[in-house]
Symmetry: C2
Subunit: 514 residues, 2 copies
C-alpha cells in the first residue's frame, strides 16, 4: 500500500506534466504549420532540384554509364555538405564481374548531421541510380528531362528513387532554413548500384558497423503506396533470385535453310527449358519450390481486411484489364507473400524487327523468382538447377547447358509494433488526414533485409510515391503533390519520432519512479 502523501505529490506532478504538455502542444502545432508552409511555398525550387537530378543518366545496368552514377553521387554529396552534413564518399572495394571484365563500382555516401547524444538517431537509406530508359522504348516524354503534365512529374528516377531521396534532403533543408532545431540526429546512406542488386553494399555496411551503432531507426523510402491516394507503410518485401540459362550449340550462328532440320537448335532447347518453369495460372512448376513458404495463418490473413484496394483503379494504373485473380485478398497475397516467376527475355537470339533466318548458336534465357519468408536462396538455387538439368537431360540434346544465379536477394519482414511505425502513422495522419495501409511489397529491396540482418536495428519502409508511379516502366513519374507532401510527411515524422522516443524514455523513467 502507498502512503497518501506520496499519492498527492504524484497527482501534482501529473497536473504539471499536462500543463506543460498543452503549452508544448501549441508550440508544436506552430512548428508543424511553419514547416508545412515553408515546404508549400518552396515547391517550385524542390521540383527544379529534382529535374536537375533526373537529368543525370545514372543507369546502373549498362556498365558504360557508370561514370554518370559517379557524377550523381558527387552531386548528392555536395547537397548534403551544403546542409552541414559530414559526408564520407566511401569507395566500394568489390569489383563487378561482367563477361570476365572487372568494372569498378561507384562509391556510396555515408553522411551525418551533427550529433546530440540526447536525441534519437534516424538513418535514411536511398539510391541515386536508375533503371535503363530510352525514348525509343516507348516513352512519351524524354526520360531524362523531368516533364510536368497535369500535376505529374515524368522522368526516369522521379519516383524510383531520386524523388524520395530529395524529399528527405528537402526536409533537412527546411529545418535549416527556418532555423528550427532538428529534434533527431540524422544520417544518410545513399548508394548507386541498387537497380543492379546493391552490388558491394553489404560489405560496405559490414565495414562501417560503427556508423550504424548509434542509429535507432532506419527508414527506407524506395517503394510506393498500394493505391493512388492512400498512404501506406511497408513491413515486408519479397526477395529476388535472378537466373541465366545458357544453351550453347555449335561454334557459330547457322543459316536455317542450310542447316535447319539436322541440328539440335539451342533455341528449341532453351524455349523448352523456359516453358517448364511456370504454368498459365502463374504456378511455379519447379519441384520443391513452395516447400519453405511460410503457412498463411488466420491472424496474418486478418491483416488484409482493413486495406483499401480499388481493383479497378489498380488495373488502370497497371494498364492490364484482367489479372490472374479477381479479388483483393488473392491479389495481395500473390503479390506479397507467395513467390512468383517471370521470364524477362533471351540474349543472343534475333531480337530486332523484321526477319533473320538464323539458328543462333548461343542463347541465354533470363528469368527471376521473387521469394518470400522462409524460402532459402541456396535451396532455390539448387532446386532451379536440378529442375532445368532434369528437363534438359530428357531432351537428349548434345548442346551445353549452364544455369547460373546472377543475383540473389532475400525477402524481408519487420515488426509493425516498432515505435517508428507508430510515429510514421501519426505523421501520415497529420499530413494526409488518414491512417496508412499496413502493406508489404512484391518487389525486392535487398537493403531492408541487409540492414536488418547486419545492424539489428528497426527498419521501416516509408513510401511517398503512389501506386501509379510506373517505376521501371516507360511512364515513370511522381506527382508534384506526392513529392511535396512526402517532404512534409518526413518532416512530421522527425517531430513525431522525437516525441514518441522521448515519451518512451519518460515512461521508463516513470516506471522507475513509481
Amino acid at each position: 500500500m502507498r502512503s497518501p502523501a506520496i499519492v498527492e505529490i504524484f497527482h501534482i506532478f501529473l497536473i504539471m506534466l499536462i500543463l506543460d504538455e498543452s503549452k508544448s502542444s501549441v508550440l508544436e502545432e506552430q512548428t508543424f504549420q511553419k514547416i508545412f508552409e515553408y515546404i508549400d511555398s518552396h515547391q517550385d525550387q524542390f521540383v527544379k532540384t529534382l529535374k536537375d537530378w533526373v537529368a543525370v543518366e545514372s543507369d546502373s545496368i549498362q556498365p558504360e554509364l557508370r561514370k554518370e552514377i559517379i557524377r550523381m553521387i558527387e552531386k548528392a554529396a555536395k547537397h548534403l555538405e551544403d546542409l552541414g552534413a559530414t559526408v564520407k564518399v566511401a569507395e566500394i572495394s568489390t569489383q563487378q564481374q561482367l563477361d570476365g571484365q572487372n568494372i569498378p563500382l561507384p562509391p556510396a555516401i555515408l553522411a551525418n548531421l551533427k550529433k546530440d547524444p540526447a536525441k534519437p538517431t534516424v538513418c535514411f537509406y536511398g539510391h541515386v541510380d536508375v533503371m535503363p530508359a530510352k525514348k525509343a522504348d516507348g516513352w512519351e516524354t524524354e526520360p531524362y528531362n523531368l516533364t510536368e503534365i497535369s500535376g505529374n512529374l515524368y522522368g526516369r528516377g522521379a519516383s524510383d528513387n531520386k524523388g524520395p531521396v530529395l524529399a528527405w534532403i528537402n526536409t533537412v533543408a527546411t529545418f535549416k532554413e527556418l532555423n528550427i532545431d532538428i529534434p533527431v540526429n540524422i544520417k544518410f546512406l545513399l548508394e548507386g548500384m541498387e537497380e543492379a542488386g546493391s552490388l558491394g553494399l553489404e560489405e560496405l555496411i559490414k565495414e562501417n558497423k560503427a556508423f550504424f551503432s548509434d542509429v535507432d531507426y532506419i527508414v527506407i523510402s524506395d517503394n510506393t503506396w498500394l493505391s493512388n491516394n492512400k498512404p501506406a507503410l511497408t513491413y515486408g518485401t519479397r526477395g529476388n533470385a535472378c537466373f541465366a540459362v545458357k544453351v550453347e550449340g555449335g561454334e557459330k550462328d547457322l543459316h536455317s535453310g542450310a542447316l535447319g532440320g539436322i541440328v539440335h537448335e539451342p533455341m528449341a532447347d532453351l524455349i523448352a527449358l523456359l516453358d517448364s518453369l511456370v504454368n498459365s495460372s502463374g504456378y511455379i512448376l519447379i519441384p520443391g519450390i513452395y516447400d519453405n513458404v511460410a503457412p498463411l495463418t488466420h491472424e496474418e490473413r486478418k491483416l488484409y481486411e482493413p486495406i483499401t484496394f480499388n481493383l479497378s483503379e489498380y488495373k488502370d494504373n497497371v494498364g492490364v484489364k484482367t489479372f490472374l485473380y479477381n479479388n483483393k485478398d488473392e491479389i495481395l497475397l500473390h503479390l506479397w507473400r507467395f513467390p512468383s516467376l517471370s521470364i524477362h527475355g533471351i540474349e543472343g537470339a534475333f531480337h530486332e524487327s523484321g526477319i533473320k533466318t538464323v539458328i543462333p548458336s548461343r542463347v541465354i534465357g533470363k528469368f527471376s523468382i521473387r521469394q518470400v519468408p522462409h524460402m532459402n536462396l541456396t535451396a532455390v538455387e539448387s532446386q532451379v538447377k536440378q529442375h532445368l538439368e532434369d528437363i534438359f537431360s530428357r531432351r537428349k540434346s548434345p548442346n551445353k547447358l549452364t544455369v547460373s544465379m546472377q543475383m540473389g536477394a532475400m525477402p524481408w519482414i519487420a515488426n509493425i509494433n516498432d515505435l517508428q511505425y507508430k510515429a510514421a502513422g501519426k505523421a501520415i495522419k497529420r499530413v494526409f488526414g488518414k491512417d496508412p495501409d499496413m502493406i508489404r511489397d512484391g518487389s525486392t529491396i535487398p537493403i531492408a533485409r541487409m540492414l536488418q540482418d547486419i545492424t539489428k536495428k528497426s527498419v521501416m519502409m516509408f513510401p511517398i510515391g503512389a501506386a501509379d508511379d510506373g517505376e521501371h516502366s516507360q511512364k515513370e513519374k511522381i506527382s508534384r503533390s506526392n513529392y511535396i507532401n512526402g517532404t512534409k510527411v518526413f518532416a512530421a515524422f522527425l517531430l513525431e519520432i522525437s516525441k514518441l522516443h522521448g515519451e518512451s524514455l519518460e515512461t521508463s523513467n516513470l516506471k522507475t519512479v513509481t
Copy 2:
C-alpha cells in the same frame, strides 16, 4: 530400204563432219587454255574488284541501309555498261510495308549483251544485297573489309552473292579482253532485296516478260557445293514461310517485383506457343504439316548414292559436333526434301547482357518453316495459325494473340535432264577434273521457283562457293581458288552450252535429213 548411193553420200558427209570436228576440237582446246590462263593471270584484279564490292554495306534487312543497296546496284550497272551491255536500271514499284511506313525498294538490273539470233541465250541471276553483319556479332575480321587469310577471302557477301555475281562478270570481261566472241547471248538479272525475300521482284519479272522471251537457259549461282572440294549442281531448293507470333498484354512493361504473380505474362504465353512447334528430335508438331510432303520414292532415294559427303568434314564446316542424324542419307533427306522449323528469336523482350527484371508487355516470336514439294503455302499458313490459336486458347490468357506470315516463298525443283545441266557437268569436269554432285539445297532461293513459274524456261543452280563458306554467319568467305575457278567454270559453261545447243539443233536437222 535406202539406195546405196544415198548411203555413200551419207558416209562421206559423216567423215567430213568428223574431220571438221577434230579441227575445231584443237581450236576449242586452245580457246579454253587461253581463257583459263587469262583468268589465272588476272586473279588479283578480280579479287580487288570483289574487295571493292564487299566494302558496300548493302544490307537489305535494315531499312536505314537501303541507300547502300542503291549504291551497290549503281556500281554493278556501271560494270556491265563498261562491258558493252545495254543496262536497264528498273525501278521496282512495290513498296515495302514496315510498321505502317512505306519504304521504297531499290531498283533491279536488267542487262543484255549484243543479240545474235543464231546463238542460244543464257540469263544469269544474282543479288548484290547482303545479310546484316557487325564486328560486334563475333567477326574476327571487319565484315565489310574483304580480308585474305590462308587463301580464303573473308567478308559479308563474299560468297553470298557478290563473289559469284562478279565471277560471271569476270567471265564476260575475259572474253572481251581476249577478243574472243562469246558463243552465246548473255543477259543479267541482278537484284538488291534477295535477303529480305526478293521483295517486288516477282512483279518486275512479270512486267518484263519480253526480256525473258528469247532466253533459253536461266542460271543462278546463289548457293554452295555440298562439300569443301567437290563441285555440285543444284536441282531443287526448299521454300520458306516466316512467321511472327505477337502476344500483347497490358499497355506498358511492368516490374516483375511489383506485378509478378498476378499478371498473365505475355512472355509465358509466347514461350508456351513457341514450345509447341517442334520437338527435341526436330519433328514439327503442327497438325497436318506433313500431309502434302511428296512421298519418297525408291528412284529418288537412289539419287543420293553417288553423292560424296564427308560427315566429319561437314561437321567441321558447320561447327557442330552432333547432328540429329548420323548418316549421309538421313542428313541429306532432312536438309533437302523434308520440312524443318527454326525459332529465330523474340522481339520486345529483354535481350541485352545483365539483368532487367521486366515483364515485357508486347513480345513477338519469330520462326520459320522450310517447306518442300508439294507443301502449299496457303495450307501451311492456315495450319500454323490454327495450331497456335488452339494452343493459346487452352491457356485461357486474356492477352491478345496475332499470328502473321511475314514472308512466304515456295520450294523449287528442276529436271536434271535439261541440256544446261549436261553443259555445266562438262564444264565442271574440265575445270575441276570431276563430275558434279547432283544436289538440292535446304535454303530458299525464291527466284528459282519464281523464274521457272513465270518464264517457263529451264532453270539451273550452278554454285561456285564451297560448303564451308559460312553464308549468313560471322565467318562468311569465298576461297580465292573457288572464286577464280568459278570464273573459269562459267566461261567453260558458255562454250559447252553453245556446243551442246548447236549439236541438239544439228541432231534435229540430221533427223530431218535421214
